[in-house]
């Protein structure tokens, strides 16, 4: 118990004293995950919205593959991106391996199926319920996907937040492609894993607290968004669901 209390106190000390090592790791983590989420959402929302409305041969197979990718272990993503970026790999000439760019790419690959699949489900539900009313106005499928995605924008914000939560809390992919290099590619999750194995529990716990705070902030954002949306709509229908990441 004493060990735990001491560790917690030291962790709080590191946080309140604005320890430069700790906060540089936090800043790097946020930068990588925000960028990966932005790229994944830019691609995933468009792709998901289109999949939600489009009907074509092989769509069911594509959706099965997409849903399977949701459960892709992050270390496998790390391995695939590693193979792509390694010197002999197809993208080896970029020289991205063991850099922040590689970490952004890995997290993007990890999060893209999440954004695409959730957006697809969201837009497909909207299409099932209201698509024919837009069809009635002569709206073609591609424009319908855009309109329905826009109409579901608050639900898609939740998707964005869930994607960010998945990105910032993963450890395997960034460990493999980033190498966990101190002051360069070390992020919160890889630092927690390393410091724990080294026995530097206060730093690991402090980073864990920051990570938990980020996740907590995400859920607070979702709750605030839900309340705001209900107020704007004047009713409590179809609320944005909170997500646990």
């Amino acid at each position: 118990m004493t060990t735990f209390t001491d560790t917690a106190l030291t962790a709080l000390h590191l946080l309140t004293e604005l320890d430069p090592l700790l906060w540089s790791i936090v800043g790097r983590s946020l930068w990588v995950s925000v960028l990966a989420t932005a790229v994944a959402c830019s691609l995933g929302v468009v792709l998901g919205a289109w999949l939600g409305v489009a009907r074509f041969a092989g769509r069911d197979v594509l959706l099965t593959v997409l849903n399977t990718l949701l459960a892709l272990p992050s270390v496998v993503v790390g391995l695939l991106v590693y193979l792509l970026l390694s010197r002999t790999g197809p993208l080896g000439d970029l020289g991205w391996l063991f850099s922040l760019k590689a970490m952004v790419l890995a997290q993007t690959v990890l999060v893209l199926p999440v954004v695409t699949a959730l957006t697809r489900q969201c837009v497909e539900d909207a299409e099932r319920n209201h698509g024919e009313q837009l069809q009635s106005l002569g709206v073609k499928p591609w424009l319908r996907s855009v309109l329905l995605a826009w109409d579901e924008r608050y639900a898609l914000l939740t998707v964005l937040i869930a994607a960010f939560g998945r990105a910032i809390s993963e450890v395997g992919a960034v460990m493999v492609v980033g190498g966990n290099i101190e002051g360069f590619t070390r992020v919160m999750t890889t630092a927690i894993a390393l410091e724990t194995s080294k026995g530097d529990l206060p730093l690991a716990l402090a980073l864990g607290l920051v990570l938990m705070s980020v996740v907590l902030m995400l859920n607070v954002c979702i709750s605030a968004l839900r309340r705001w949306r209900q107020r704007m709509d004047g009713s409590g229908t179809d609320p944005v669901q909170g997500v646990l990441v």
């Binding site: 009635s136 424009l143 924008r153 004047g234």
Partner: protein, 233 residues
């Protein structure tokens, strides 16, 4: 009068279920036709086929070249927008420039008495107001053929009367063709000039409104007679 809509031997199949079976319906411009029948009889399917939302499994559908259609649904989907924008979007999607769409949208809102709510969220309106808004959007599109799928079935009596009054005003003022489904036989009497009775996807009676309600149907159309007897008690 010219033929506005013609359905010839139309069948629609959903898996093993035949929603419409060999339906023949022809409508003249300016006619007001009510579709009646029990739930699942094919009324909504027929409306969707007539509006081009559903492909037929068999048969042929033709709509006159000069016909412009608009459809009002049982539960109109309110886009996440203001009341005004809801109408403007509809017009813009059909090619009306944004500025003109605003003017026409305001006129339509005034016509249904929602002009004071133009800036409110469309989703915050009551059921009756939402249906009036859906009518305003259909109105703003200036169609000459309107399809309505049970437009008042989910409304309270006051909202029902209000929507029906607006519909009556519309058809009286513009000679618009009307094809609508309804469970409300009083409404059918008031709005329609002709009644089509459907059962299990088949047209079993197609009569002028006066003949449907006031002449004995027992021998000529026994199914419609039973339906009327059941509905009117």
């Amino acid at each position: 009068m010219s033929v506005a809509l013609n359905l010839r031997d139309v069948s629609v199949q959903f898996g093993a279920h035949l929603a419409l079976q060999g339906v023949n319906v022809s409508m003249q411009a300016g006619e007001r036709v009510a579709l009646v029948g029990a739930n699942g009889s094919g009324k909504s399917t027929l409306l969707r086929v007539a509006h081009g939302l559903l492909k037929v499994s068999h048969g042929h559908v033709s709509v006159a070249r000069d016909v412009t259609q608009a459809m009002v649904f049982q539960r109109p989907h309110m886009l996440r927008s203001s009341v005004l924008r809801f109408v403007v979007w509809g017009l813009w999607l059909q090619g009306t420039p944004w500025r003109d769409a605003h003017v026409r949208a305001m006129q339509a809102l005034e016509r249904v008495g929602l002009q004071d709510m133009a800036e409110r969220s469309a989703r915050a309106l009551s059921g009756g107001q939402q249906q009036r808004l859906a009518l305003a959007r259909a109105w703003a599109l200036q169609p000459n053929f309107v399809l309505l799928d049970e437009p008042t079935s989910s409304l309270d009596p006051h909202a029902k009367r209000e929507v029906e009054r607006l519909l009556a005003e519309w058809v009286a003022a513009s000679q618009v063709s009307l094809l609508f489904s309804s469970h409300n036989l009083g409404q059918v009497k008031r709005l329609a000039t002709r009644v089509i009775y459907l059962e299990s996807g088949r047209v079993l009676a197609d009569l002028p409104v006066d003949a449907f309600f006031n002449r004995p149907l027992g021998d000529s159309h026994p199914e419609a007679h039973l339906f009327l007897k059941g509905e009117l008690g």
